[in-house]
C-alpha cells in the first residue's frame, strides 16, 4: 500500500500525475519563441485573429458579429462577422473575461500568445482518452506523450501562433473521442456531446469538413461490413441532426450543410440509416426470406435514387459543387491551373518524404504497424482509426499543411504499436526463471494478473502465444526501444527549437562569433508607418502582408491574407507588374498613398517579393491576360533574371524598380543581390511617380510614397524629367564655375 491507496487508485493517481507532466511538457516545449524573442504574435494570419480578438474584447459580441471592417480590402471593405470562424476569438475573449472577473488583469496579447500551447495540453488529454478507447490506458499515455511533442502538431501550435488550428486539433480529437464513445455505448448523450464539440469545431476551423465526412464514412463502412446496430443509429442520428442544426448557426457556414457537396455525404448516410433502421424494424416482424430480399433491393434502390437525385440537383444548380479548395485535394492539377492563388501558398504544396520524417520521425513507420494491429482486432472503433489513417495520409501527401490532421492519428496508432510491444516485452509473468521471485510478492502478483487479463482480452490467438521467454532478448528489445524513444524526444526538441519556433516577423541569425543577431525590420517598418503616416492613408502591398499591416501598423490595406476577392488581388499584382505610368493610374484610383515591398537582396532573405513576383504576375495574368504576360518576364532562354539580362518588362515593373531603387548606390556601383546571386545592372533606376519614404535597417522592408499629381498639370514623368534636367543644368553650371575657378 502506497499512500494508503489500493492498486486501482494508485494506477489512477499515477495516470493523473503522468498526464499532468505530459501537459506540462507539451506546454513547455512550445515556449521556445517566447524565451528567445518575446511574447509576440507570429506570422500572418494570427495577426488578423489577434486584431479581431482585440476588437471583440474592446466591444461586445454582437458588435463583433456585425463588424464591417472598412480598413481592409479598400475600397470594398470586408464583412468580418460573416466571413470568419469566430471560435478562436470567442475562446480567448471568454478566457480574458473570466480572468478579469477573477481580478487577474492579464493582457489580451498574452492570452492569445499562450492559447495554442494551453490547448495542446488538452489535445494530449483527448489523445489519451481516444487511445484508451482503442486499446487501453497505457497506450493512451503513450499517445498523449507522442502528440504532446510531435513536431507535426507543434508546427501549428507554438506560443504566438495564434491560429485556428491551435484549438482545432484539440476539438478534432475530442469530437472523435466522443463519437467513438457514443458509438460504443449507443448513447444519445454522447452523440449530443459529439454534436456540441462538432459545433465548436465548425466555429473554429474550416477543417470541420473532415469530421463531417469522416464520421459518415465510418458509419457507411460499418453498414457495408454488416455492422449496422441500434448503437450506430442512435449515435449517428443524434450527432448529425444536432450537429447540423448547430453548425448552421455560424454565419460563415449558414445554409452550406444543406446546399454544398461537402456536406451531402453526411445527409445521405443519415437517410440510409433511417431506411435501414426502418427495414430492420419491419424485418423483425416478418420472417419470410422473400421479404428480406425485397428489402435489401429496396435499400440498394434508394441508395442509387438518392445518389442520382444528388447528381441532378448538383447539375441543376441547387447544390453547389465542391469548392475549389476542396476539389483541388482530389484533382491535384486543378489548383495550379484554375486557382493560382491557392497554388501560390507554400503550405498548399505537396509533401516530399523528408517532411514526413521531419514531422513524425519514428512514428511514421510505427503508424502502419498500429494500423495493422487495428486490423487484427477490428472492432468498430478500429475501423474508424483505419479510415482516419488512410484518408489523412492521402491528404497529408497532397498538402503540406494537412500534415496537421495526420499527426494525431499517427500518434494514436504508433502508441498502440509501442504499447503492444511493451506489453509483451515487459510482462514479467512469462519469464519462467523469474516466476519464483514474483510469487513471493503478493501485491505485484495481483497487478500482473490484471495486466495479463488485459492482454489476453486484446490478443486473438491466445492459445498459441508463449510470450517472450528469455531475459536477454527482452532486455535488448526494451533497451533499443527506450533508446529510440529518447532519440524521438531529442528529435522533437531539436525540430521545435530550430524549425518551428521562429515568429517570422522577427528573424534571427548569428554573427560569425556565434552571438545572436536579431533582424527586426518588419516591426520597424510597421511602426514607422504607424507613427509617421496619416491614420487614413492606404498602403498597397502584396496580400501576404495585409494582416500584418492592419495589425501592427493600423493602416488601411488593399488586399490581405483573406484572399476572398481574386480580382482585387490581381489588380494589385497588375500594378506591381506594370510600368510606372500604368501602375500610377491604378494606385491613384485606389487612393494608395504608400506602397510597401519586401526586399531580401541585401541580407539574403529568400521570402521576398521578387521571389513571389511570379505569382503576382500569374494571378494578374489570370484576370488581365491582355495586359500582363508572364512570358515577358522571362528571358528568351526562359530564365527569370534580375541582372543585366533582365527583360525590359521586368526592369520597367514598379516591383523591380522599388526593390532595387538606390541599391547600386549602397555598393557604390553595381549592387549584389544575395538571394538570387546576381549582379545588378549599373544603370540607375529612376522613379518618377513614387518616392522612397522609408527603408529599414537591413533593407528588408521598403516603403514608397505615391506622389501627388503635379501642381502644374504635367505628367509626373515629365515633371521628374524636368526636375532632373534642371538639376543637371545646375550641376553643369557648377562644374563650369568650378572650371573657371580652377
Amino acid at each position: 500500500m502506497v499512500l494508503g491507496l489500493d492498486v486501482q487508485n494508485q494506477a489512477a493517481l499515477l495516470k493523473v500525475v503522468i498526464l499532468g507532466l505530459i501537459s506540462f511538457v507539451a506546454i513547455a516545449s512550445r515556449l521556445f519563441s517566447i524565451i528567445r524573442f518575446e511574447s509576440v504574435i507570429h506570422e500572418f494570419d494570427p495577426w488578423f485573429n489577434y486584431r479581431a480578438t482585440r476588437y471583440l474584447v474592446s466591444t461586445s459580441f454582437y458588435e463583433f458579429w456585425n463588424w464591417f471592417d472598412e480598413r481592409s480590402w479598400y475600397p470594398l471593405g470586408r464583412v468580418v462577422g460573416g466571413t470568419v470562424f469566430p471560435g478562436l476569438m470567442v475562446t480567448s475573449a471568454t478566457i480574458y473575461n473570466i480572468l478579469h472577473a477573477l481580478n487577474f488583469p492579464v493582457d489580451i496579447r498574452n492570452i492569445c500568445v499562450l492559447l495554442a500551447p494551453a490547448f495542446s495540453a488538452f489535445t494530449a488529454i483527448s489523445a489519451y482518452l481516444l487511445t484508451a478507447e482503442i486499446k487501453d490506458s497505457s497506450a493512451g499515455l503513450l499517445a498523449a506523450a507522442f502528440i504532446g511533442i510531435a513536431p507535426g502538431y507543434i508546427s501549428r501550435s507554438v506560443a504566438g501562433s495564434y491560429d485556428n488550428e491551435g484549438i482545432a486539433i484539440f476539438l478534432l480529437m475530442f469530437t472523435f473521442y466522443l463519437w467513438i464513445k457514443g458509438l460504443k455505448e449507443g448513447s444519445a448523450f454522447y452523440g449530443a456531446l459529439t454534436a456540441l464539440f462538432y459545433f465548436y469545431m465548425v466555429a473554429a476551423w474550416g477543417g470541420y469538413v473532415f469530421i463531417i465526412n469522416l464520421i459518415p464514412l465510418h458509419a457507411f463502412v460499418l453498414i457495408l461490413m454488416g455492422r449496422f446496430s441500434s448503437r450506430l443509429y442512435v449515435a449517428y442520428s443524434s450527432f448529425y441532426v444536432l450537429g447540423t442544426l448547430m453548425s448552421m448557426q455560424i454565419p460563415f457556414v449558414g445554409f452550406q450543410p444543406t446546399r454544398t457537396s461537402e456536406h451531402m455525404a453526411a445527409l445521405g448516410i443519415f437517410g440510409i440509416l433511417q431506411i435501414i433502421a426502418f427495414v430492420e424494424l419491419v424485418r423483425s416482424h416478418l420472417a419470410s426470406k422473400q421479404f428480406q430480399i425485397l428489402f435489401k433491393s429496396f435499400i440498394v434502390f434508394s441508395f442509387f435514387t438518392m445518389f442520382f437525385a444528388l447528381v441532378l440537383l448538383t447539375l441543376g444548380g441547387y447544390i453547389a459543387p465542391w469548392t475549389g479548395r476542396f476539389y483541388s485535394l482530389w484533382d491535384t492539377g486543378y489548383a495550379k491551373k484554375y486557382i493560382p492563388i491557392i497554388a501560390s501558398v507554400s503550405e498548399h504544396q505537396p509533401t516530399a518524404w523528408p517532411s514526413f520524417f521531419f514531422d513524425l520521425e519514428m512514428l511514421i513507420f510505427l503508424f502502419p504497424v498500429g494500423i495493422y494491429l487495428c486490423f487484427r482486432e477490428l472492432r468498430d472503433e478500429h475501423v474508424f482509426v483505419i479510415l482516419y489513417g488512410i484518408t489523412a495520409s492521402y491528404f497529408a501527401g497532397v498538402m503540406v499543411r494537412l500534415m496537421l490532421t495526420l499527426t494525431p492519428i499517427v500518434c494514436v496508432t504508433a502508441a498502440v504499436a509501442v504499447s503492444h510491444l511493451l506489453d509483451l516485452y515487459l510482462d514479467i509473468n512469462n519469464l519462467e526463471t523469474e516466476r519464483s521471485v514474483d510469487k513471493s510478492e503478493s501485491d505485484n502478483k495481483g497487478k500482473h494478473k490484471k495486466l495479463k487479463e488485459g492482454g489476453s482480452r486484446s490478443s486473438l490467438n491466445q492459445s498459441k502465444i508463449f510470450g517472450i521467454r528469455s531475459f536477454d532478448t527482452r532486455a535488448t528489445v526494451l533497451i533499443f526501444f527506450y533508446f529510440f524513444l529518447i532519440i524521438f524526444v531529442w528529435h522533437c526538441t531539436w525540430v521545435t527549437s530550430n524549425a518551428y519556433s521562429s515568429p517570422s516577423i522577427v528573424l534571427a541569425s548569428s554573427h560569425p562569433d556565434g552571438s545572436q543577431f536579431i533582424i527586426d525590420d518588419f516591426r520597424e517598418a510597421y511602426y514607422w508607418l504607424r507613427k509617421n503616416t496619416d491614420y487614413n492613408s492606404k498602403v498597397m502591398s502584396w496580400w501576404d502582408y495585409g494582416y500584418q499591416i492592419a495589425g501592427m501598423a493600423d493602416r488601411t490595406t488593399l488586399v490581405d491574407n483573406n484572399t476572398w476577392n481574386n480580382t482585387h488581388i490581381a489588380t494589385v499584382g497588375k500594378a506591381m507588374a506594370s510600368s510606372e505610368g500604368v501602375a500610377y493610374q491604378i494606385m491613384r484610383r485606389h487612393d494608395v498613398s504608400y506602397v510597401l515591398v519586401i526586399f531580401g537582396g541585401l541580407l539574403g532573405y529568400s521570402g521576398d517579393d521578387i521571389n513571389k513576383f511570379l505569382w503576382m504576375i500569374r494571378i494578374a495574368e489570370g484576370v488581365y491576360p491582355d495586359e500582363v504576360k508572364e512570358g515577358n518576364f522571362f528571358t528568351p532562354r526562359g530564365e527569370y533574371r534580375v541582372d543585366d539580362e533582365a527583360t525590359p518588362t521586368m526592369r520597367n515593373s514598379i516591383m523591380y524598380k522599388m526593390s532595387y531603387h538606390n541599391y547600386n548606390e549602397l555598393f557604390g556601383g553595381q549592387g549584389q543581390d544575395r538571394v538570387r546571386g546576381a549582379r545588378l545592372s549599373s544603370e540607375k533606376i529612376k522613379l518618377s511617380t513614387l518616392e522612397e519614404a522609408y527603408t529599414t535597417e537591413n533593407w528588408i522592408v521598403r516603403i514608397y510614397k505615391v506622389k501627388e499629381l503635379d501642381n502644374l498639370g504635367r505628367s509626373l514623368e515629365q515633371a521628374a524629367a524636368f526636375n532632373s534636367g534642371k538639376k543637371r543644368r545646375r550641376s553643369k553650371i557648377k562644374s563650369t564655375r568650378n572650371s573657371k575657378n580652377g
Binding site: W353, R469, W494
Partner: protein, 329 residues
C-alpha cells in the same frame, strides 16, 4: 537582268506610292488563295519550309496564322513534339470543318528538317514552339502585330488548351471535335460486358475477396506506405526518376523539399522493412515456442530494425545536412 529588276523595283515603289491598297491586294489575294489550297489539300494543315514561312508570315496579313515549329525527325527524338502533333492537327481539322471563314486562321507546321534557317534566325533551340501571328490589315487587324508565343509549360499540350488559346486571340470559339474512336468504344463496351459476366460467374469468389480481411489490410497498408513516402509529390511534380551524372547515377537529390522518383520508393521500402520488423516482434516472435529459436528471431529482427532505422537517419541527413542525430551510421 539588272535592268529588268530595276524596272520592277521602280514599278513596285511607284505603285506603293500611288495606291497602297491596290498594290497590296493582288499579292494578298494570291497568298490567300495559295494558303486556302494548301489548307484544303492537307486536312487543314499547311506544311511549310523556310521560304514559305517567310512568305506567309510577312506583313501585311489580313489573316491570322498559327505556326508550329516542331521536330518530328525520329533522330531528334522530341517526345513533346510527337505528343503535340496530333493535337495540333486535330484543332486544325476541327477548324476546317467548323464552317468558319477559313481565312481567319491558318495552321502551319514547320519541321526542323525543312526549316533550319528559320530555327537559326529565330534563335530557337527548343521544340516544339508555337507562334500566333495576328492579322495586320483587314477587319480583324489588331494593334499588336508581333507574334504571340504559346506557353507550353503553363498551358500544356492538350488540344483544348491550345484551342482556348486560339479562341482568346480570335474572339470566336475554336472547336475541338475529337473523332469518335469507335474501336475504343467497342472495346470499352466489350470489357464492361465481360466484367459484368465475370462478376456474375465469379460472384462468390469476389464476395469472398471483398470480405477478406487480409486483402483489405494489404490494400490499406500499401496505400498508407505510398502516401507517407511522398508519392503524391511525385505525382504532382513529376520529378525525374534518377539523374545520371557523368557516369554515376544519383539516387538522392539534395534539398529538403524535393526528391527523385526512386527516392520515395527507397524510403517506402525502408519504412516497410521497419514496420514489418516491429510487427514481427509483436506478433510472430511470441508464437515461437522454442527458446533458442525465439532468441534468434528477436536478435535478427531487432537487428534489421536498427539497421534500417539507421539507414533512414543517414538518408535523412543527406536531405537535411544540418540534422544532428545519427544511429550507428
Amino acid at each position: 537582268m539588272e535592268k529588268f529588276f530595276r524596272a520592277f523595283l521602280f514599278v513596285l515603289i511607284f505603285s506603293l506610292l500611288t495606291s497602297h491598297a491596290s498594290a497590296a491586294k493582288p499579292s494578298l489575294e494570291t497568298k490567300l488563295h495559295k494558303l486556302n489550297e494548301a489548307t484544303r489539300k492537307n486536312q487543314g494543315v499547311i506544311e511549310l519550309d523556310s521560304s514559305l514561312y517567310d512568305e506567309v508570315t510577312s506583313k501585311p496579313r489580313n489573316y491570322s496564322i498559327v505556326i508550329l515549329l516542331t521536330a518530328l525527325d525520329p533522330q531528334i527524338n522530341c517526345v513533346p513534339c510527337k505528343d503535340f502533333d496530333p493535337e495540333f492537327r486535330l484543332v486544325a481539322k476541327s477548324w476546317l470543318g467548323s464552317g468558319n471563314i477559313l481565312s481567319r486562321i491558318y495552321f502551319g507546321v514547320l519541321d526542323f528538317k525543312n526549316g533550319r534557317e528559320i530555327y537559326a534566325k529565330l534563335n530557337l533551340n527548343n521544340a516544339p514552339t508555337l507562334f500566333y501571328f495576328p492579322p495586320t490589315t483587314g477587319q480583324y487587324a489588331k494593334e499588336v502585330s508581333e507574334p504571340d508565343r504559346y506557353d507550353f509549360n503553363r498551358r500544356g499540350f492538350s488540344a483544348d488548351s491550345f484551342a482556348s488559346f486560339l479562341s482568346h486571340h480570335l474572339g470566336t470559339q475554336v472547336p475541338v471535335n475529337r473523332p469518335l474512336n469507335y474501336f475504343a468504344i467497342f472495346i470499352t463496351i466489350f470489357f464492361i460486358l465481360a466484367g459484368l459476366a465475370m462478376l456474375k460467374l465469379m460472384f462468390s469468389i469476389i464476395q469472398n475477396l471483398i470480405q477478406n480481411k487480409s486483402i483489405w489490410t494489404a490494400f490499406s497498408l500499401i496505400t498508407i506506405f505510398i502516401m507517407i513516402s511522398g508519392h503524391m509529390w511525385n505525382h504532382i511534380r513529376s520529378p525525374p526518376y534518377i539523374i545520371p551524372q557523368n557516369g554515376k547515377i544519383s539516387y538522392i537529390t539534395p534539398g529538403f523539399s524535393s526528391q527523385l522518383g526512386i527516392e520515395s520508393q527507397i524510403v517506402a521500402v525502408l519504412y516497410c522493412i521497419c514496420s514489418f520488423s516491429v510487427v514481427t516482434l509483436i506478433i510472430s516472435i511470441p508464437k515461437i515456442e522454442d527458446k533458442t529459436k525465439q532468441r534468434f528471431g528477436v536478435y535478427i529482427w531487432m537487428g534489421v530494425l536498427v539497421a534500417t532505422f539507421s539507414l533512414l537517419f543517414a538518408l535523412f541527413r543527406q536531405k537535411n545536412p544540418g540534422y544532428p542525430f545519427r544511429l550507428f551510421i
